[in-house]
Structure formats: C-alpha cells, structure tokens
C-alpha cells in the first residue's frame, strides 16, 4: 500500500481543524456517497444537500467515528440519515424504487453467486415496493421510521412489507434449495 494517510488519520486531522485533510476526505468520499444516495432519491438537489450536510456534520463531530469498522460505512450512516431528514423537510419527493425486470447477464450471475448466491434471484422476484423496504431496512440499516420517511409510506406499511418480503424470500430460497 502507498503512504497516503488513511481515513482515520484524516478524521483526526479534521478534529484538529485541518481544512486540507477535510478536503481530501471529501474528495475520497463525496463521489460514491452521491451516487449511492442518488439511487435512493431522484432529486439531485436533495442529494447535493445531503452530501453537504454529511460533511458539515463530519466537520462538526469528527470524533463521532469511534474507530470501529470502516470510515466509509460511518459516513454512509450519516449520509443516508441526512438524506432522510432533508426529504422529510421537503416532503414532496418520491424515493427511487428499483426498476424491475432486466434479467441479470452472465457475469452478473458470477458476481452474485460469489457474494449472494440465490438471493439475487429471490430479490429480483419481489415487488418493487418490497425491494425498496428491504433495501432501506435490511441493506441500509435504517429504522422502520426512517425507512418510512425515505419511502413516503406509513411506518405500519414498512413493517408489513418487510414482514411479507422476508417471508417471500424465505419461501423462494427454500423452493430453490429443494
């Protein structure tokens, strides 16, 4: 590996009010955060606001990172919640539901079998609403309330959809293995 400072080192420097380190951190992370956020929200202004909020939060509380896990994962946790809170104040923006269809190509199958196995197909067979809930709650780690704000549906709907989606996945996976 090269001798560039790691993210943890940069965070320490940011805690010491180092604007250069802050900029490096931004350049390393703002891009993929923006892309990942944009997959959950169609409004690019909101995504830009959420990225800005995220880094302002990092500047104000770099010590919020407790040294467990990846800095990237910590940043994502902040970013998705900033997005949720921006969407709550705007209210009128529809979250992105994954597009259905598009059977995975051969190399996808390889990738999926490496990392997920049959789950890929199982997810593909869920309805878009259920996938959105799975994505928000299971994959992004949001609470039911946060997911409800992100998707603009009642909390109760999130809970029922999650319950049904899990049941569906279980059934599909059991079917595939038998």
């Amino acid at each position: 590996m090269d001798s560039r400072p790691g993210d943890e080192t940069l965070l320490l420097a940011v805690a010491g009010r180092d604007m250069g380190a802050f900029r490096t951190l931004y350049e390393r992370h703002a891009g993929w955060l923006a892309i990942r956020l944009a997959r959950r929200c169609n409004d690019r202004d909101l995504v830009a606001d959420a990225v800005q909020d995220t880094f302002i939060a990092v500047w104000q509380r770099p010590q919020g990172f407790r040294g467990d896990g990846d800095v990237a994962a910590w940043l994502w946790g902040i970013a998705i919640r900033r997005l949720v809170s921006r969407m709550r104040t705007r209210g009128s923006v529809a979250a992105v539901f994954e597009k259905g269809g598009a059977a995975p190509a051969a190399e996808d199958q390889v990738l999926l079998s490496v990392e997920y196995g049959d789950i890929g197909q199982a997810l593909a067979r869920l309805s878009p609403e259920m996938r959105a809930v799975i994505q928000a709650v299971v994959l992004d780690g949001l609470t039911a309330r946060e997911a409800a704000q992100l998707l603009h549906v009642p909390v109760s709907s999130v809970k029922t959809r999650l319950y049904r989606a899990k049941a569906r996945l279980r059934a599909v996976l059991a079917e595939g293995s038998s």
Binding site: D7, M19, F22, R23, Y26, E27, R28, H29, A30, G31, W32, A34, I35, R36, A38, R39, R44, V47, A48, V51, Q52, F55, I56, W59, Q60, D70, A72, A73, W76, E98, K99, A102, P104, E107, D108, L111, L112, V114, E115, Y116, I119, G120, Q121, L123, A124, R131, Q135, L139
Partner: protein, 272 residues
C-alpha cells in the same frame, strides 16, 4: 482488502443504474470496504456538481458558529440571515458593551456611595449609554461589515430598527440592574431620556452619521447636566414629571421625523 475488485462493466452499470438490486447491493457492500474501487467510482460522478458542493460545504464550515446572542435572536424568531445582520454589529463583539458597562458601573458605584456628585455623574452618563451603543452598532466607521450590508438591497430601515431594538434589549436590563444600586428613583429616571436620545440619534442619522449625532447629543446632555448641577439644584430636578414628559415628547417627535425621513437613510452610504 480481498484482492477482489469490481470489474469495469459492473461499475458502469452501477453508476448508470442499469443493474439489478442484488448486483447494486453487492457493489455497495464492496465499496464500503474497498478504497480502490471507491476511487474508481468518484471520477464517474455526474449526479451532483462535486466542486460546487465542496465550495458550499467549505463556506458553511468556515463561517464561525453563531454567537450566543445570534442564537438568542434566532430563538426569538428572527430568520437566520437577519439574526446574522443584527448580530454582526460591532456593539455585540463585546468591546463596546464592556466599555459601556464599565462606565455605568463606575457611575452607579459613585452614586451608591451617596455623594450627590456621584448621583449627578450617574444621571449624566447612564441616559447616554443606549444611544451611544446604537450609534456604534451601525456606524460604518465602527463596523466594516456594514458596507456590504448597506449595498445589498436590504431595507436599511428594518436593519437599523432591528439593531436598535436588539441594542436596547441588551443594554436596558444591564443598565437597569446597575441602576438598582443607585438610591432613590434615579435608576428609573434615566429611562425616558435614554429612549429620547436613541430616537434623536436615529432621526439625526438621516442627515449626519449616527456617531456624530450621538456625539452631539452627548455633548448637549452633558452640558445641560453640568449647567443644572452647577446651579446647585438637587438631582431630583431631573426626575420631575414635567421633564420626563418632555423627554417622552422628544422621543415621539424624533421617531416621527426618523420614519418620515427614512428614505434619506440611503444617503448614509457615502459617509466619510
């Protein structure tokens, strides 16, 4: 670091959002832990203007945290940008208030000790404090921040009134508190003169700079107090109801003039 990395096709589909949920999810999981693949994603970002967002972010963190006073103003319901405008007045940077408070403390102390002379001193100084603070709070020579403010199409009248109210809200309790140390009714006798002087300074600021106005008012008041004092009248003379009413009339008239001439406030800009 596993040595396993995303291939270009997968990355392209991820950035272009043409992948499936499962594939996208696996990409996202990988990105969380792989600095190299993140670095490959970053140049492809077209969803937002990264440079513009960086500029905004940097500006946001470089602005100093709002002062206690500014936050108080916001709590009181003032929009953030107005709270900032009101609070950047140099009067709130503490220096002037400390100076004013020191003078008042000295005067109150002198009065509390009980000398008639001390009481006179208090009556001479205390009513001038608010109008001086108001003048300092929006005189351009005292406050470089004012220049861009006055150039922006912001209603100058609103700014000046907001600042005046803010100054009074800050200065009055402090001076009242000090006044409690002073015996008799004197602590409260200065209130109407003080308000009258603030109104005079506001009205005069449509002709001359507020600081000059405040200086003139101070000189006039100090001369008056000195004249009355040397004729050995008791300090109680200033407390008479007639004189208090006169100050009330003065305040109302000056404020009327200020409002009537508010269009001339724009002429304040070329002060030298």
């Amino acid at each position: 670091m596993t040595g396993w990395h995303l291939d270009d096709g997968t990355l392209r589909r991820y950035v272009g959002r043409t992948d499936s949920l499962a594939e996208g999810t696996s990409v996202e999981q990988h990105l969380l832990s792989c600095e190299q693949c993140r670095a490959r994603v970053n140049p492809a970002v077209d969803v937002i203007d990264l440079a513009a967002v960086w500029a905004r972010t940097r500006d946001a963190v470089e602005v100093p945290r709002p002062s206690v006073f500014e936050r108080l103003l916001r709590v009181a319901g003032l929009p953030a940008h107005e709270a900032r405008l009101v609070a950047v007045a140099s009067a709130f940077r503490g220096v002037w208030l400390v100076g004013v408070a020191a003078v008042l403390a000295f005067a109150a102390l002198a009065a509390a000790v009980g000398h008639a002379r001390g009481l006179w001193f208090f009556l001479a100084v205390a009513p001038l404090a608010p109008c001086l603070v108001v003048a300092f709070s929006y005189d351009r020579r005292m406050d470089p921040a004012l220049e861009p403010e006055m150039v922006t199409p912001y209603p100058a009248l609103r700014l000046i009134l907001l600042r005046t109210i803010a100054v009074l809200a800050l200065a009055l309790p402090a001076v009242l508190l000090l006044g409690l140390v002073v015996p008799g009714d004197a602590p409260f006798a200065w209130l109407l003169p003080a308000i009258g002087f603030v109104a005079v300074v506001l009205a005069a600021s449509t002709w001359v700079s507020p600081l000059n106005a405040a200086m003139a008012v101070s000189a006039a008041w100090l001369t008056t107090v000195w004249l009355v004092a040397t004729r050995s009248a008791s300090p109680a003379a200033v407390l008479q109801a007639r004189i208090q009413v006169a100050f009330l009339v003065l305040a109302a008239a000056s404020f009327g003039i200020f409002l009537a001439r508010r269009r001339h406030l724009r002429q304040l800009r070329p002060w030298r």
